[in-house]
């Protein structure tokens, strides 16, 4: 019972810390790590509600959802990292330009 609150609140804290990190860091890698911390928080929340009283009874549906979520998260992370890498190759930067370019379109 108390376990539920402990983990749920931890989950929320992780989510919010990740959110802050996402806004706080300029480095793309750090942003992606922050997103993953957020994801960890969300997943932790799901599992904490799957198993509120830490008895043997575990709701399998959130577990399945988290498994799905982990795959989705790693897919997006891998793609984002690949993009970050490509950007580094082209610009030598690990950050995004904040200014919107006015280059020509897809010509």
């Amino acid at each position: 019972m108390h376990g539920f609150y402990i983990y749920a609140i931890t989950a929320i804290l992780l989510f919010c810390l990740g959110l802050w990190g996402l806004a706080f860091h300029r480095n793309l890698l750090r942003k992606i790590v922050a997103l993953n911390v957020m994801a960890g928080g969300v997943f932790l929340f799901f599992i904490s509600i799957a198993n509120p009283d830490q008895s043997g009874e575990v709701d399998p549906v959130p577990q399945a959802m988290v498994l799905t979520g982990i795959v989705v998260a790693i897919s997006l992370t891998a793609f984002a990292l690949c993009l970050a890498r490509r950007i580094h190759e082209k610009t030598g930067q690990n950050e995004l330009d904040t200014s919107c370019s006015i280059e020509d379109g897809d010509g």
Partner: protein, 486 residues
Amino acid sequence: MESLLVLVPLAAAMGSFLAPGRGIASWGFLTSLAIPALAAGTAMDVYQHGARRISLGGWAEPLGIHLHMDGLSVIFLIMTALVGALISIYSAFFFKRDTARHFWPLWLLMWAALNSLFMVSDIFNAYVVLELVTICAAALAVLSGKTESLQAGLRYLMVAMAGSLAFLLGVGFLYAETGMLDMFMLSWELQGGPVAAAAFGLMTTGLVMKSALLPFHFWLPPAHGEAPAPVSALLSALVIKGSFFLLLRLWVGVFEPAGITSHAAYVLGCLGVLAVLWGSYQALIQPRLKLIIAYSSVAQVGYLFLMFPLLCTVPEAPWAEKAWAGGTYQAISHGLAKAALFLAAGNLILSTGTDRIHYMKNIASRLPMTTFTLGLAGISLMGLPPSGGFVAKWMFMQAILESGQWWWAVAPVLGGLLTAGYVFRILGYAFLLAEKEPRMLPVPFVLEKIPLILALCSILIGFRAEEIIFLLQEHMLWAIEVEGDS
């Protein structure tokens, strides 16, 4: 029938992935033949027999996942089918082979995901489908491989991921509160309360981030402006609508019955008005055609959010039907018009090699068809009669005046004026005589026709609003609840 809407593009996606040879575009052709027919069939079905749902795998609520078709879904499905099919044909002629190899599987996957999204009934399933749309959209956005597009794509991806995670946390809260995931069960199970409110806030924020409403609009113009033209069209016309559709579904179906929407609705409405003004203003000062169109999307998305204060503040409001119809109409006519605009911009780039509007001089006589397309789509965006945009504006305006929340009228009136400003800014350059004849390449026949067809569609849907509005009002989400109960 409905399942085929998902199965067919998925099969084509696999096909184009496994056989990326010379005929890769034929996968797209086949799909764009099949999907409009299937969507029309589904629409007829719903039109005649009312809303229906199927349980995937034969597992009933609350365990299984369902697909849900009602008036709202089929209208979005048809819009997606129409826009998707036309853009597919355009793309078949637009992309060279080495780009086509990457384009087709991603777009077909995304098409399936969008179709699935418009039939979604399960909130976790909604998350998975949204992520599929997101990753495909981000990958498509970087298709050109330019640095700007890579940066824009990554920015979009990260915003969308954060939005999805907020949405997912909201799903968790709802599940913790009610122990179920099906929207239609939630709609009569969910009571108000802090947990539901937290879920509401998280899901709304997440989806608003993905729909690019004002404070979260920053990712949209570069992402849509830097992508190749057909991709910009897809992103603007369809992808934003996906998350907006889900938001609408959740608000009207789940949270409004629970009575936790009223204050937030005003916030969304205000943001919508600001988005209309800010987006239009930005569109007025952009130097590039595609950026103008992209900022116009920011503004037009703002319109959509006017629906919420009109729909979700007063229960059982008599004007709700009008706001409902107006918003939906806005969504579909914007989809059609925006696709037409981006494709026309694509033609322009093909022909002149740039989309800076200073170089657009004299296209009115050199590319009359494209100019005409820009004009027609512009009419729909401005909401001038007779066009889809006008129907939307008419319905909205009626709802606004009937509800007595007259201050929302700022958006349609001023927004319409500003829209006229940027549309005619484009057309003004188009009519301007060039000092010296610019070098222009001819544009292939099909590429010129397709945006014109899209623009014409966005006008024509203004003529026969009756059936669409019937579909929307007779088979509204909340009208189905009784049937869903059985």
